[in-house]
Structure formats: structure tokens, C-alpha cells
């Protein structure tokens, strides 16, 4: 069956929640679709959520008459123009829209280095998510490495859940971090958060300009070798939590044909993409954190609902928060030396077991894909595509359906004939 809505929001993180709430305030029938079982996205998960999260939940509740929530559903294609198809528990849902707001968030970036595919070498946000869903790290020794403000947050989180964090390694140079801290001094919220994390990890050595060069052990992960400048040393531990900042989830937008610029979805002042009536808010337009995601979500929600004046009132805040996004980008830009970490036998594509040695001679992403199977596995190149973009400068090709692996039954089903009814 096809359900019809004026405005469809894909993604239920801060950006999507704000967009849905604002659009619904003006009585538009809105649906918010998210692949998790509850709203909140990557950040507002589990029990201990911040006040801002509660506020937005309450705001959504207050307009619940106009908002349909579809949980545990992943949008994977557009069978006909104007209709999204999502997969939910092995079945499919067709959702017809007039306006679309894409708020699909970001994911961690992984970079290959010798041993990165060993068990217990996990993402930094990944380990945090595992703990949130029940994994115990009590008494476990953990090294947190990679890049981005997430590292400190994760280290603090792991400490409070009983882990012993042995080191935090940030690839960005100390001078950059100093400039970053200096710049957020005027932002009391950000500063307070940073200081809190820093206090919680006071006892943990923090290394700047430092990154893992290899993870060791036989079948099991046992230790990580770190490098900082000319110095290299090895630490024995149970987990290496390693992520190199975040990358925008642009696949869905790309699939719709939205213009992508510099790896981000290009939007106008109303958060509208290059495709009419398709809006985008939050991390896909550039990594800027939950506050920027909220502002962009509000602007997109109001603009899609035809409330340009309301949308306009958030422009100033957005401009300010985008400066922070810019600062993040500059501070945590990857050290080119990281591209030299993989050895010949290091797997770059872990779905298809493709080592660095066979990739280094390929001229482009598509050639590599066709000739080596790199990126042809179930992750559809989300991990290795991001890595090879950095290592070789390749840009990924055309996005084809399904956007996520999907049961054949859902992929094949014929869409119903749609007659759009007027809903005002």
C-alpha cells in the first residue's frame, strides 16, 4: 500500500526531528522515517539523553496529530518519481511525498592500516554504541585513536562505564587543536562540554599528532603500535576504538540526483538541494554537530512548510554554527601521512578481501571496482570508498539502488499506481 504525505523526512536524528516538528506545526501531514527503533539519531540514544533531546521529543509530541513516525525502516530506493520505498522487517513500504527532507546524518570514517580488520579493533563511536546497547567494558583496557571531537567524548563515556582508557591519540597536530580550543572559548556551551570531557579523562595521556600504525596479535587483537613524530611505541590493550572523524551520508541525496560538492550535499539558503522540493539538513551538508543539525532542520522544516519568514529567523544562528563546522573541517583535516599506512597485504575492502597491493595500480574507483571487486560487497563501498577517496583521491561513481542491501521481494515489488490527492 502507498501512504501519502505532504512532507517526508528521512532520518530521525536532531536534524530530522527538528524538521518534522517545525513542518508539522503548520498542520502539514508529515512522516518521519528512521532505521532505528527510536528517534534520536546517532547522538540521542539510550537512557541518559540531554535536555535538548527531551525538549525536541516534547515538541514532536505536541504536534503528534500531524506526525506519523515510522521506526525501523530504511529508505532504499525510489521505485517511481515522488515515491520512496523503505524496508521494514523484511517487508516494504511505499511512501509518496510532495516535499522531501533528507536528514541522513553521518558515519565514522575508517582508514586501513595493518591489523585494522582484527576483531576488537572497532570504531570509536562504534564501541560507544556497543556499550550503549549492552556490551560491558568494565576493567577493559582501551586505546582511543583517530580524529575528531568524538574521541574525547567516547573516552569520557568509556571511563564512566568502567573501562580503563590507556591513551587518546588525535592525528591532528597540537597547534591546530590549540587554535580550535581558542576559537570555541566564545561558545560557552561547546567550551563547557569540552572541559567536562577533558576533566573526565584527566588521568588519560592525550597525544596530538599521533596515530596507530598497526594493530597486532595473532587471530585476536592484543596491542596497538602508535606513532607520534619520530617516536613509535606499542601498548597492550583489549580494544582499539578508532575512527577518523565523520563523513556525511550523501548516498540517498546522490541517488536523487542532488548536486554534491566537496563530499557534501549542496543546499541553498532554504536548505533546498539542487533538486526542487528536495531539502537536506544536518550532517549530510557538512559535519557541524548536533546544534547545527537542529538549526538546519528547523530551517528545512519551515521552508518546506512554506513558512519562509520563520525559516529566515534562524539564518543568523546557522551562519554562526557553520563557522564551527568550518573550524572542525580545518582542525581535523587528515594528515597526508595517514595515506601511507596500508602495507601491500593490508585489506582495504574488507567485504571482498581486496588488499592495497592490487589497488595501488588502478586508475580510478570504477576501474578498481570492476577489476578487483573493491566496494562490491554488502557495505556497498561505504567504508572502502571513503578510504580510497582519501588514499588515492578517487571519487565514487553513480549511486544505484538499492541504497542498502534489501530482500529481493522488497526490491522487485511493483509500485501501486499513485493518484496524488490534495492534502492542504
Amino acid at each position: 500500500m502507498t501512504q501519502h504525505f505532504d512532507i517526508v523526512v528521512v532520518g530521525g536524528g536532531p536534524a530530522g526531528m527538528a524538521a518534522a516538528a517545525c513542518a508539522a506545526e503548520y498542520g502539514k501531514p508529515v512522516v518521519i522515517v528512521d532505521d532505528n527503533l527510536t528517534l534520536g539519531g546517532q547522538i540521542w540514544r539510550g537512557k541518559d539523553i540531554p535536555a535538548a533531546a527531551r525538549k525536541w521529543q516534547a515538541r514532536l509530541d505536541s504536534v503528534s496529530a500531524h506526525v506519523t513516525r515510522i521506526h525501523g525502516a530504511r529508505v532504499f530506493s525510489q521505485p517511481v518519481p515522488g515515491v520512496l520505498r523503505a524496508e521494514q522487517n523484511g517487508r516494504y513500504l511505499d511512501i509518496a511525498y510532495r516535499k522531501l527532507i533528507l536528514a541522513t546524518g553521518a558515519r565514522e570514517r575508517f582508514l586501513p592500516f595493518p591489523g585494522w580488520t582484527l576483531p576488537n579493533v572497532v570504531g570509536a563511536g562504534g564501541l560507544q554504541a556497543l556499550v550503549k546497547s549492552g556490551l560491558s567494558v568494565k576493567g577493559k583496557h582501551v586505546v582511543v585513536a583517530g580524529s575528531g571531537p568524538l574521541l574525547l567524548a567516547v573516552a569520557a563515556y568509556l571511563q564512566t562505564h568502567g573501562a580503563k582508557v590507556l591513551a587518546i591519540c588525535e592525528q591532528a597536530q597540537f597547534s591546530r587543536l590549540l587554535k580550535f580550543v581558542h576559537s570555541i572559548v566564545t561558545d560557552s556551551g561547546k567550551l563547557r562540554q569540552a572541559l567536562t570531557y577533558k576533566m573526565q579523562t584527566m588521568s588519560v595521556p592525550f597525544y596530538a599528532g599521533c596515530y596507530p600504525v598497526s594493530a597486532g596479535g595473532g587471530k585476536k587483537f592484543e596491542s596497538v603500535t602508535l606513532r607520534q613524530g619520530k617516536r613509535a611505541w606499542t601498548i597492550a590493550c583489549d580494544y582499539l576504538a578508532c575512527g577518523f572523524h565523520l563523513v556525511p551520508n550523501t548516498e540517498l541525496a546522490e541517488f536523487f540526483g542532488c548536486r554534491i560538492s566537496n563530499g557534501k550535499v549542496a543546499v541553498d539558503k532554504w536548505q533546498q538541494t539542487s533538486i526542487l522540493d528536495v531539502y537536506c539538513a544536518g550532517e549530510p551538508t557538512g559535519i557541524g554537530g548536533a546544534e547545527l543539525a537542529l538549526v538546519e532542520g528547523q530551517i528545512a522544516g519551515y521552508a518546506a512548510a512554506g513558512q519562509q519568514d520563520k525559516a529566515h529567523s534562524f539564518f543568523e544562528e546557522r551562519a554562526r554554527r557553520r563557522k564551527f563546522a568550518q573550524l572542525l573541517e580545518e582542525t581535523f583535516a587528515l594528515d597526508p601521512a595517514l595515506a601511507q599506512l596500508p602495507q601491500d597485504e593490508t585489506l582495504v575492502c574488507r567485504c571482498e578481501d581486496v588488499p592495497y597491493s592490487v589497488l595501488k595500480h588502478e586508475p580510478s574507483w570504477r576501474a578498481a571496482k570492476l577489476h578487483t571487486r573493491c566496494g562490491m560487497g554488502p557495505c556497498q563501498g561505504r567504508i572502502c570508498g571513503t578510504a580510497t577517496e582519501f588514499i588515492f583521491g578517487w571519487t565514487a561513481g553513480q549511486v544505484r539502488p538499492p541504497i542498502f542491501p534489501t530482500p529481493l521481494s522488497s526490491l522487485g515489488a511493483k509500485p501501486e499506481l499513485i493518484e496524488l490527492q490534495e492534502t492542504r
Partner: protein
């Protein structure tokens, strides 16, 4: 300096790659030009089924000859070509189609292709996931499956080892009268120019009777052993035969990786690369009809590709009115299979050797009148 060759092949799909390899090995001073990626055209979109087909005597002769060449080559192919002689099962759904099984067996026997008839029970044992009841199948054990882009890579490597020059990421803008002009204006010269540009052949030679025939394919996650042979419904013949309307057929291929490749569809007048949900839906419905449990398997990607179709469904191989220009295109849905025979026949023709089978049915001149009127 004027760069000149005995022969230049335009296009490094499987057909151009095979031609370059064969000609270089025959001692010609060769070059091969590819605008984009080796094996990145139809060769990357196709299924890689090396199959003997008996649509017409000429098709049977060409596919059978080419398959024997693949057999000879098999032991030298590198592992990434994923050569797998899994055989084909032509599935008969009912007694009518079982008649077709017997007819087909007789035709194959006359051509010395050995086959085996499976009854309903034997078929169910050979492929437990197929729906029951089905009437039976014709088993063709000599058919195989390859991964075409790496086969094209291998053939280009062979050509290079035999002395051929590769011009990669260079598009030919004009070719004829012994001269090739690249899109950047530079030129090279050749006594013989071979057009192996697949479905875009009519861009350089507008009068060629080659049309694009679109196809959709779906690849799944890994399910080793789910099917064991390339499975094709006998109704496929109806689909492949029809020259006008859109059609779908049940066609499932086991890959070396354990993945399943699901086809197939045929459409004219649809030159966009996008997925057509109606045809995709019809194609998958057909597949579910034969293998109901496919429905629960996870799909990873859908893509489309274009076959280079000629009016009589036979390729265009051989000389043209321009004495320096030769064709190796129009292979429709069989170019992976027939690439090696195409290369051998063309080389025989250029070197004036006696071919193993007659080139006559594939000569471009059979459409000469139409081209003149076009």
C-alpha cells in the same frame, strides 16, 4: 613523427580485447584504444555466461566455435576471471517445453554438443531450490561462467605482451581511410582499423544497423550452493527472439563468490541508464516463480547495460566499403561468448587464412543495401 600500425582496434571491451590479442599474437603491429576503462562498457554489465545457442545455424556455429576457444584458453586464465564450467540447465516448465528440450537436444547432438536430459526428479535433485513440479531440463555441461571485465583485462595484457600499444582514456573522434583522429585532435595511422565499440558503434559509423537493447541485472549477497548451474527458462528463447516488445525471462547464475546474478530483461527505445521499476519487478517476479525462496535473499545492487543489437541478431564481423575499416560489433546478448571466435575469424580474414567456420553469415555487407537507403 607519424605513428602508424598494421592494425588499430577501437574499444577495449571483451570483443576489442580479444581482437587485439589475436592480431598481436599473429605478429601484427597493433594498438588498442579505449576511451574509458578496459572492460567497462557492456562487458562490465553482462552476465558472463559462455553459452552455446541455437537460435539459428549461424548462431550455433559461432557460439560453439567460440566456446571451444574458451575451453582451450581456460587453463591459462588467471583466477580473477573466475572461469567456472558449471554448465547450463535449460528449464522446461511443462510438457510443451519438454518437447523443446528434445528438439534442442537433437540439434545440439547434430552439432556434436553433448547434452543430457533431466526428468522432473533429476532436476529437483540437481537444483533443490527450484519450484516443484517442473517438467525437466536440458543439461549442457560444456557451458561456463566467467567474470568478463577481468577477462578483458587479461586479453589486453596478452596483447601488450605480444607487442601491442594501449591508448587508455583516449577517445577516437573519427576513423577511416587508414587514419584515426582522437578527440584531442592528435592522430595515428593504421592499415586496418577495427571498430569494436559495442553498442556505441553507430556513433562513429552512423549508418550501422546497431540499436541499443537495454538489460537489467540484480546481484545478491553470498549464498554458496543456493544454485549450482546457470539456470535459464526455455521461455527465454521467446524473450531473446522477440525483436520488438519489452520482455523478461528467468535467468540465474551462480558466481564463484557464492553470489547470484539474476536476469534478464530486454528493452528497445530506452537509452537511459536508470532502473525501470516495472521491468525490474517483472523480471524478479519471473525469477520468484521459478525459485520462490529467492524472495528472502538480500540484494546488493541493480544495474543496467546495453546490448548492441542487429536486425538478425547476428554480429557484424568483417570488411566494410572503406577498405581500411573492419567491424567487430553487434554481438547483442552473446558478445562474451562469441568474442574469441570473432577475433579469430577477423584475424583469419585479415591474414587470408582459411577459417574454421564460414565468415559469410556475419559479414556486414548483408546490410549494405539498408545502409545505403538509411
Amino acid at each position: 613523427m607519424k605513428l602508424s600500425y598494421d592494425a588499430v582496434v577501437i574499444g577495449a571491451g571483451i570483443v576489442g580485447a580479444a581482437c587485439a590479442c589475436e592480431l598481436a599474437r599473429a605478429g601484427m603491429r597493433m594498438a588498442i584504444v579505449e576511451a574509458q576503462i578496459i572492460g567497462g562498457g557492456a562487458t562490465a554489465a553482462g552476465m558472463g555466461h559462455i553459452v552455446v545457442m541455437d537460435d539459428s545455424p549461424a548462431q550455433l556455429a559461432l557460439t560453439q566455435y567460440s566456446q571451444s576457444l574458451w575451453n582451450e584458453l581456460a587453463s591459462q586464465l588467471p583466477p580473477n576471471v573466475e572461469y567456472d564450467r558449471c554448465g547450463t540447465l535449460w528449464i522446461a516448465a511443462d510438457d510443451d517445453e519438454m518437447q523443446e528440450v528434445h528438439r534442442k537436444q537433437a540439434v545440439y547432438a547434430a552439432a556434436h554438443v553433448s547434452t543430457e536430459i533431466l526428468d522432473a526428479k533429476a532436476l529437483a535433485e540437481a537444483e533443490p531450490n527450484l519450484r516443484r513440479p517442473l517438467a525437466g531440463a536440458l543439461f549442457v555441461p560444456s557451458d561456463a561462467v566467467i567474470y568478463p571485465p577481468c577477462a578483458a583485462m587479461y586479453l589486453v595484457e596478452c596483447a601488450k605482451q605480444a607487442g601491442a600499444t594501449l591508448y587508455l582514456e583516449r577517445a577516437v573522434a573519427k576513423a577511416g581511410k587508414g587514419r584515426l583522429v582522437f578527440s584531442d585532435g592528435t592522430e595515428i595511422f593504421a592499415a586496418s582499423i577495427i571498430h569494436a565499440t559495442g553498442a556505441s558503434a553507430s556513433r562513429l559509423m552512423p549508418h550501422l544497423p546497431v540499436r541499443k537493447r537495454k538489460g537489467h541485472l540484480v546481484i545478491t549477497d553470498r549464498y554458496p550452493g543456493f544454485v549450482r548451474h546457470q539456470l535459464v527458462e526455455l521461455g527465454y528463447l521467446k524473450s531473446a527472439h522477440s525483436t520488438s516488445s519489452d520482455s523478461v525471462a528467468f535467468n540465474v547464475q551462480p558466481r564463484r563468490t557464492g553470489q547470484l546474478l539474476i536476469g534478464s530483461s530486454r528493452q528497445y527505445n530506452n537509452e537511459g541508464t536508470g532502473v525501470d521499476q516495472n521491468i525490474l519487478g517483472a523480471m524478479l517476479a519471473r525469477a520468484f516463480d521459478y525459485i520462490p525462496s529467492l524472495q528472502g535473499l538480500s540484494s546488493i545492487r541493480v544495474w543496467t547495460g546495453f546490448r548492441a543489437a542487429t536486425p538478425d541478431k547476428l554480429p557484424l564481423i568483417g570488411p566494410t566499403e572503406d577498405a581500411s575499416v573492419f567491424l567487430a560489433t553487434g554481438h547483442e546478448g552473446l558478445g562474451i561468448t562469441t568474442s574469441l571466435a570473432t577475433a579469430r575469424l577477423l584475424t583469419d580474414h585479415l591474414l587470408d587464412r582459411t577459417p574454421a567456420i564460414s565468415l559469410a553469415p556475419y559479414l556486414p555487407e548483408r546490410f549494405a543495401c539498408e545502409a545505403a537507403h538509411a
